[in-house]
Point group: C2
Chain length 486, copies 2
């Protein structure tokens, strides 16, 4: 179990774990005027809102109190120990800050501050090297610069107001602050909470490999997602990634795979992005799962966390509406899932349950009529779930495909349709994914949002399209096969 810590980096992982559990945080440059909501002030408010468990020390040379907290003129004036410092002061004050932190025995400085190696002027690179040297000499670790820092609901670390207070099983490493924020907010909306998230920006000191190694060994983290623009040490990253993927699923969204994308990463986080094909083969060999967006990363989280692993790729798609059903078949095939044809006996059973309602499709995908009574629709779904050739079930609900019906009809149909899906879960332990889509009309969208809420809260993996559900299911199967071969 501890094999990934065999390379002498246990100390580093313990060090990072302490960063997620600081006893105290100091924030230089907090505005004392609540209407001047500067970055320092914002961090302070976020930590207060997140109910940070340790001591908070706002730094302001011209104020004695900020809100209900005592303010200090400098880091050195704080009476107790300071574990962690969040800096939003201009880059040019960086060296002085590092000197103060060194004197105080601070463990880590999170430089929200940008204006270092990611800018074009030589001065940025020079300053970054200077603070890095000074920090290393004094045993102070640097997070960033040019990043949002740490989110950990268990200890009350946060960097945005409104972040969820509940813990979850996903650990996320993001070189972009925006992607870190989006992972947390969109993860919450779709039902995936986070254990720990780090936005690490330029990664000048603590970097992607350090955090990946840490999350691989973190018992609170079941799946890992990473948005990476470039890595500092290729061979080390490759080794850490492979060990991490053996432990738990690692989903990688690599940014900057195109030429202009690479130009962008240089000015965003001073990263050398690396070629697309090199990345692809590295990720494939390491057992990592490559995605092209944070949305797809969350798809993978859902497929890993909210479904038992499918035995194989044989899929039964239960949907509504002919056009949708045809699209479902095409999308599954493209993703690499197989839709076995139903045997005559099974088709006969379905037809009997359908009792002469015409226009339905009894192949696979199956278009079970929405107009037949819910109990018979549930029976039909249960017959399919019990079929020994079905490894996975995908249930589709398409709100605008109900045919010739009024809005009231739709509302009356939606409830039983969602109930059917909830009931089916009680009748089968087969892996199930749900697809909610096609809500163009205003009232359909409202219904879809409500249906999503109910199914999400009941623990389902819900996807916005069949294509994305199928891709996520396929990747889970691929990963489990790779893992068994290790």
């Amino acid at each position: 179990v501890e094999s990934h810590r065999n390379d002498g980096t246990t100390t580093l992982s313990r060090e990072i774990d302490r960063l997620f559990h600081p006893r105290s945080i100091a924030i230089p440059g907090v505005s004392s005027d609540p209407s001047r909501f500067n970055s320092g002030r914002r961090y302070l408010e976020c930590l207060l809102e997140a109910d940070f468990k340790g001591a908070l020390y706002p730094i302001n040379p011209n104020a004695s109190d900020i809100g209900a907290l005592r303010a200090y003129p400098s880091i050195r004036d704080i009476p107790g120990p300071v574990d962690y410092v969040i800096s939003a002061v201009p880059a040019r004050h960086g060296p002085q800050l590092v000197a103060d932190c060194a004197a105080k025995g601070v463990r880590c400085i999170n430089f929200f501050t940008s204006g270092f190696s990611e800018i074009e002027a030589e001065e940025g690179g020079r300053l970054e090297a200077e603070i890095l040297d000074a920090a290393r000499g004094a045993g102070v670790r640097i997070l960033g610069p040019n990043c949002l820092g740490l989110y950990c609901p268990a200890t009350g670390l946060s960097f945005i107001l409104d972040f969820p207070a509940d813990e979850g099983p996903a650990g996320v490493i993001a070189q972009s602050g925006g992607n870190a924020v989006y992972s947390i907010m969109e993860g919450q909306r779709r039902g995936v909470g986070c254990s720990k998230v780090v936005s690490y920006g330029n990664g000048a000191d603590l970097n992607e490999s350090d955090f990946l190694e840490y999350l691989a060994g973190d018992p609170d983290t079941e799946v890992i997602g990473a948005y990476i623009e470039g890595v500092k040490d290729g061979p080390r990253f490759a080794g850490v990634l492979k060990r991490a993927a053996r432990e738990k699923p690692v989903i990688i969204y690599k940014g900057g795979l195109s030429e202009s994308g690479r130009r962008t990463t240089a000015s965003h986080t001073a990263s050398i992005a690396g070629s697309s094909s090199a990345w692809q083969s590295l990720l494939r060999q390491s057992g990592a799962i490559q995605v092209q967006s944070v949305d797809e990363m969350i798809d993978m989280f859902l497929a890993f966390l909210r479904m038992p692993p499918p035995r194989g790729t044989k899929t039964v798609v239960i949907g509504a509406g002919g056009g949708t059903t045809t699209k479902a078949a095409d999308d599954c095939s493209r993703a690499g899932l197989h839709l076995p044809a139903l045997p005559a006996e099974l088709r006969q059973k379905l037809k009997e349950l359908n009792r002469g309602e015409v226009g339905r499709i009894f192949g696979n995908p199956i278009d079970i009529g929405l107009l037949i009574p819910p109990d018979r629709r549930l029976q039909a779904a249960a017959v399919l779930a019990a079929w020994d050739q079905a490894d996975v079930l995908i249930m589709q609900v398409a709100f605008d495909h109900f045919g010739l019906v009024t809005r009231k009809d739709k509302e009356q149909m939606l409830g039983p349709c969602i109930e059917n899906i909830l009931d089916l879960r009680r009748l089968t332990d087969k892996p199930m994914a749900v697809v909610l889509h096609s809500y163009a009309a205003e009232h359909s969208r409202e219904m879809a949002i409500e249906a999503h809420r109910r199914l999400r809260d009941a623990g389902f993996a819900v996807f916005p399209s069949l294509a994305r559900a199928a891709t996520a299911v396929r990747e889970v199967i691929r990963y489990r096969e790779w893992q068994q071969g290790q």
Copy 2:
């Protein structure tokens, strides 16, 4: 201009045009009990709601009035001429209905009824052949069977309650009723109205080629979209498609390209789907644009209708947030758009307008700071729009990427940000696309929906992701090049 009508099919197109302008419609099997909302009754209510301009004749042997309308025992009993009949009666009554319509001189029967060649039982194919023979002998055209029929806001033809009453420039042919409905509803949501839509199901008589040829010559239609599962006459379709694409953009969503998809189309509309590669090369050679969903079809409509054609692929992406910007670069490259690097002089201008706000990216994509005053942000965008190397502008608004800000901040930022885009349109005639995305938080979604409404109503082409915007822009350029080569 009339070249596409040179093959002797003018008569057919005139015939179809008359179907979209019927003087009267009869509907067999309309329930007289308003609480028994059967299919016939639904069609009647739809036509009443759509304010159909001609006479409506509900058929019911046991009622003398239905609502405010006089009911008739059979088609033959109607006093005036009947142009069009919508049938929801069971398939087995089909032959009798055709005989009645032949006697009455009806031009076309829209068989909503399913249970014909798309079902497995031999009886279905036999019945379809029987009604087809009888209709042909009597000069009655068949629409369907197994389809929803015609939508034409100008004449008040409709098949769903709540359909938009306003006309628009898109003509849509759909072999799936669900996809026809979704094209109309989602098109309305995104700002693309329809001239004429036909759901044609099995296409036993009037088929995809007939309607494509008609829409190509229809002066009310500027762009054509088609969802096709299979074609009846390959060579004829190829010829009609090529002539149509010369006239106006034709966007094809071909369903059933996978093996299981093909199995599905057989039971959905009795279609032989054809191989994926054969379709791809046919569409490419014909100048048609292939998409994989109705959503992408609407993307293409927007790019054709709401942007002047770009001169070339050189694109400037104006966005916010580093991770988003990197993704934008990768997505554009993948779609085949080029992002020229900004010359030093232009970068200098942008930096001056930005006045020392650090952490911004002045490459291309450009991350213009959201915190700088709106007038300077607009100036920066105008400088980029005026750059002679920019063929297209893509503006990105990412609601959850605003960094360390409160909800109130977001609301205050959103207004000016949208205003900037509206103002920019007045300063440039360059093609512009807008991308609104990343709204995980509940309040961000509300803001995004409101922003979408404003931009849509101001005439912008708005896309839900950069990848989809870039693909649509690229296809417009490809089509214009193909068209010029003809």
